[in-house]
C-alpha cells in the first residue's frame, strides 16, 4: 500500500542524504520526495511517498525516527489531508490540437505559463487524481516533457 509520510528534520548539512541513503540502503521504495524549509528556518519538512506492506512501512517509520536529525515522523495514512502536486508540462499546440489544449487548461483550471510557436507550457496543481486525469487527457495531443514536484500534504483542520 502507498503511504505519504511527512518528516520534520533539522535543516543541516547532509540530512537529505541520510534519509535517501536509508531508503536505498535498506531497499525501501521511494516514489517521490519533496523538501523545503518550514516556518522555523532551522527545520525542514520532507514529504515522501513510499509503498510496502504493513511490516515494511512500520520499519520505514521506525528507521526514520531513529535518525538523529529527524524530529518527527507522521504517516498520513488514515489522516484527513489536503495533498497537492505541481506539474509543468510541455504539450504540442499546433493545428487541430490547439483548441483542445486550451479547453483542457480551462476545465482543469491550469495555466499556460509559456508559449512557443508549436507548443505550450502548462502549470497545473492538484491532488493525485486530478493530476493523473489531466496528464491522461493531454497524452493523445502529444506531451513533450513533464516535470513534477512530487506530492506535498498537510492535515486538515486545527
Amino acid at each position: 500500500m502507498r503511504h505519504t509520510i511527512s518528516v520534520l528534520v533539522e535543516n543541516e548539512f547532509g540530512v537529505l542524504s541520510r534519509v535517501s541513503g536509508l531508503f536505498s540502503g535498506r531497499g525501501f521504495n521511494i516514489e517521490s520526495l519533496c523538501v523545503a524549509e518550514t516556518m522555523d528556518p532551522k527545520v525542514s519538512r520532507m514529504t515522501l511517498v513510499t509503498s510496502g506492506n504493513d511490516q515494511i512501512v512500520e520499519q520505514i517509520l521506525k528507521q526514520l525516527n531513529k535518525l538523529v536529525p529527524v524530529l518527527k515522523v507522521i504517516d498520513f495514512t488514515g489522516v484527513d489531508t489536503v495533498d497537492r502536486e505541481l506539474v509543468l508540462v510541455k504539450v504540442n499546440a499546433d493545428g487541430e490540437g490547439k483548441p483542445e489544449v486550451l479547453r483542457l487548461v480551462d476545465i482543469f483550471r491550469a495555466r499556460i505559463v509559456d508559449v512557443a510557436p508549436r507548443c505550450y507550457t502548462i502549470e497545473m496543481t492538484g491532488g493525485e487524481g486530478k493530476v493523473q486525469a489531466f496528464l491522461q487527457m493531454l497524452r493523445p495531443l502529444g506531451i513533450r516533457e513533464i516535470v513534477r514536484t512530487g506530492k506535498i500534504a498537510i492535515a486538515r483542520g486545527m
Binding site: 547532509g14 542524504s17 520499519q59 521506525k62 531513529k66 538523529v68
Partner: protein, 564 residues
C-alpha cells in the same frame, strides 16, 4: 581563553575521561598529534593499521563497557577505518572515530588525501559529523560520546577539517547534551510488562532467548535472577555468550546455525519465548516461516527497529533491559504464582535435559591429529574459564563459542554481525589495554590472523601480553566446510599452504612463538605459552578435516540439524 581547535579537542577528550586513544597519524590530523604530545592525561597507542586501531577501540569497549576511541588522518587513514566501523555498527559497540579532513575550503576539490568519509561511513555509523567551525568542536565531541554510548550503542565518526584544528575559539564543553531528535526510551511500559508476565505465566514451555543486549545493558544479574525465580531455561546468541552463566543448570548454550541440539529443540518446541536484547538474526532463526511455530513471542529491546523486523511479535516492549527485567522480577519474586509456575514447567525442563543428554556438544577424539575442539577445551581448563576470549572468524570462532564455558559478561569478544576476519588480535589488544590484570586470549584461525597480524608489533611495542592460539588447519576452514557439505567437496581457493611459519613470524616481531603438533603436546605448550611474559603466539596444527557441528544448513529450519 582562546585555544586552537587541536587543543580544544585534546582537552575535551581528557575532560570526558578518555584515558587511551588508538590511532595513526598523518598530515590532516598532525595538529592534534602535536597537542597530544603536550597532554599528559590522554595516552595514545600507535597501531600498525587503522583497521586495527578501530578493532582495538572496539575490543576495549566490549571488555570494559566504556567507549573506545580512535584517531586517524584523512583520506586513506579514514577509509581504512570503514571495516572497523561496520564491525562495531553491526554488533552495537560504542566507539568514536575521529578523522582528520582537508581544510574546509578544499573539501570537494579532490584535494590531496581527501575522502568523503562522512558520506562513506553514513550507513555504517550510528551517526556522524563534519565539524564546520572551531567553536562547535567541543560540543560535537561531547555529543559523539553521548550518542555512541546511550540507547542502542554504536559507532560515531567525527570528521575534522584541518582549518578547524588550527582555528581558535573559547573552550566551552557543554554540561548537558541536548539533541531535539534523539531521545532513547529507557523505561519499559508497565502495562506491557504486566501483559508479558501474564502471557509467560499462562504458558508451559518457556525459553529465554538472550542476546548481546543483555551485555550492552549490563543486566546479566537481572537476567539470572528472573530466570531463577521462574526456573526459565536460557539460550544465548553468539553475541550473548557470557550474558548468562554457561555452567548454570538452566543454561542451554548457544542457539542457531551452530547452536546446541537442546537449544534449537527447545526454541522450536517452546510455547513462549522471552527475547531479551536479541535481534532474531537469520543465523538464529533459520527458515523464518518455520521458526518456533508454537510460540508466543515477547520481545524486549531498546531499539524499536529490532522489534517486528524479522518475526511477528506478540508483546513488544521498548525499553532498557535493566529497567524491564527489574519490573518483571518485582512482579513475580516471592509470589506463589512463581512457585506454581516452576512446578508446572518442570516436565518441560525434563524434556530439555533429555535433549541435552542425548545430543551434547561433542566431537570424535583422536590420538593422531589434534582436534581443534580439544585445544579450546584445554584453553578452558588451563584458564579455569577466567580468561577474556577474543576470536577470529570461522570455525575457530564457533569452537571458541561451543567448547569454552563463559560465566561472565564481557569475556567473549567476537565479530558476530559482520563476521570480520582479522578482528580478534586487535580486539584482544584493546581488551588487554582496558583490563590490564586479565588473561586475554585470541582464539584464531590461520586465515583470519593474517588479516591484522601487523598488530603484533603494537602488542610488542607496548608490552601487551595477549596470547594468540592459532587453530591452524591449513585452510579457510569455514568456507571449506560449506564446500564439503554443499559444493561436492570442490575446495576452490580455500587451501592455505602453511605460509608463513608463525613461530618465526612471532619471533621476527619480537613476540614469543610456540608450536604444538601432537595431541599430547597441547596442554604443556599452552601452559608454557600462557605463562610466558609479553605477547605470545601459539601455533597448533589441527585436523583440517574437522567440521563444526551441529549445523543447520542455510535456509533450513532449526530442527534440521546436521549432527556429529
Amino acid at each position: 581563553m582562546q585555544m586552537t581547535g587541536a587543543e580544544i579537542f585534546v582537552k575535551a577528550l581528557a575532560d570526558l575521561g578518555v584515558d587511551v586513544v588508538f590511532g595513526y597519524p598523518g598530515g590532516a590530523i598532525l595538529h592534534v598529534y602535536d597537542a597530544l604530545f603536550k597532554n599528559m592525561k590522554v595516552r595514545h597507542m600507535l597501531c600498525r593499521h587503522e583497521q586495527g586501531a578501530v578493532h582495538m577501540a572496539d575490543g576495549y569497549a566490549r571488555a570494559s563497557g566504556r567507549t573506545g576511541v580512535c584517531l586517524v588522518t584523512s583520506g586513506p587513514g579514514a577509509t581504512n577505518t570503514v571495516t572497523g566501523l561496520a564491525t562495531a555498527y553491526m554488533d552495537s559497540i560504542p566507539v568514536v572515530v575521529f578523522t582528520g579532513q582537508v581544510p574546509t575550503l578544499l573539501i570537494g576539490n579532490d584535494a590531496f588525501q581527501e575522502a568523503d568519509i562522512v558520506g562513506i561511513s553514513r550507513p555504517c555509523t550510528k551517526h556522524n559529523y563534519l565539524v564546520k567551525e572551531t567553536k562547535d568542536l567541543a560540543r560535537i565531541v561531547k555529543e559523539a560520546f553521548y550518542i555512541a554510548s546511550t540507547g542502542r550503542p554504536g559507532p560515531v565518526l567525527v570528521d575534522i577539517p584541518k582549518d578547524v584544528l588550527t582555528g581558535s575559539a573559547r573552550y566551552d564543553l557543554p554540561k548537558e547534551v541536548s539533541l531535539r531528535g534523539y531521545h532513547p526510551n529507557y523505561e519499559g511500559h508497565p502495562r506491557q510488562v504486566e501483559s508479558a508476565i501474564r502471557m509467560l505465566l499462562s504458558r508451559e514451555r518457556p525459553v529465554v532467548y538472550a542476546g548481546g543486549g543483555v551485555i550492552l545493558s549490563n543486566s546479566s544479574a537481572e537476567l539470572a535472577e528472573l530466570s531463577r525465580v521462574l526456573s526459565l531455561p536460557v539460550t544465548t546468541t553468539l553475541m550473548g555468550m557470557g550474558a548468562f552463566p554457561g555452567s548454570d543448570p538452566l543454561s542451554l548454550g548457544m542457539l542457531g546455525m551452530h547452536g546446541t541440539y537442546a537449544a534449537n529443540m527447545a526454541i522450536s518446541n517452546s510455547d513462549v519465548i522471552l527475547a531479551v536484547g536479541a535481534r532474531f538474526d537469520d543465523r538464529v532463526t533459520g527458515k523464518v516461516s518455520e521458526f518456533a511455530p508454537h510460540a508466543k513471542i515477547i520481545h524486549i529491546d531498546i531499539d524499536p527497529t529490532s522489534i517486528q523486523k524479522n518475526v511477528p511479535v506478540d508483546i513488544p516492549i521498548v525499553g532498557d533491559l535493566k529497567d524491564v527485567l527489574r519490573k518483571m522480577i518485582k512482579l513475580v519474586k516471592g509470589k506463589k504464582e512463581a512457585a506454581a509456575y516452576r512446578g508446572k514447567t518442570a516436565a518441560w525442563r525434563g524434556q530439555i535435559a533429555s535433549w541435552a543428554k542425548t545430543h551434547p556438544l561433542t566431537y570424535k577424539p583422536s590420538k593422531g591429529k589434534i582436534k581443534p575442539q580439544y585445544v579450546v577445551e584445554q584453553v578452558y581448563k588451563l584458564t579455569k574459564g577466567k580468561a577474556i576470549i577474543a576470536t577470529e572468524v570461522g570455525q575457530n570462532q564457533m569452537w571458541a563459542a561451543q567448547f569454552y564455558t563463559y560465566e561472565q559478561p564481557r569475556t567473549f569478544l567476537s565479530s558476530g554481525g559482520l563476521g570480520t576476519m582479522g578482528y580478534g588480535l586487535p580486539a584482544a589488544i584493546g581488551a588487554q589495554v582496558a583490563m590490564p590484570g586479565r588473561l586475554v586470549v585470541d582464539i584464531a584461525g590461520d586465515g583470519s590472523i593474517q588479516m591484522n597480524i601487523q598488530e603484533l608489533a603494537t602488542a610488542v611495542q607496548y608490552r601487551i601480553p595477549v596470547k594468540v592460539v592459532i587453530l591452524n588447519n591449513g585452510t579457510l576452514g569455514m568456507v571449506r566446510q560449506w564446500q564439503e557439505l554443499f559444493f561436492e567437496g570442490k575446495y576452490s581457493q580455500t587451501c592455505l599452504p602453511r605460509i608463513p611459519d608463525f613461530v618465526k613470524l612471532a619471533e621476527a616481531y619480537g613476540a614469543k612463538g610456540f608450536r604444538a603438533e601432537k595431541t599430547e603436546q597441547v596442554p604443556e605448550v599452552l601452559r608454557k605459552g600462557f605463562a610466558a611474559e609479553g605477547p605470545v603466539l601459539i601455533d597448533v596444527t589441527v585436523d583440517p578435516g574437522e567440521l563444526v557441528y551441529p549445523m543447520v544448513p542455510a535456509g533450513a529450519s532449526l530442527t534440521e540439524m546436521l549432527l556429529v
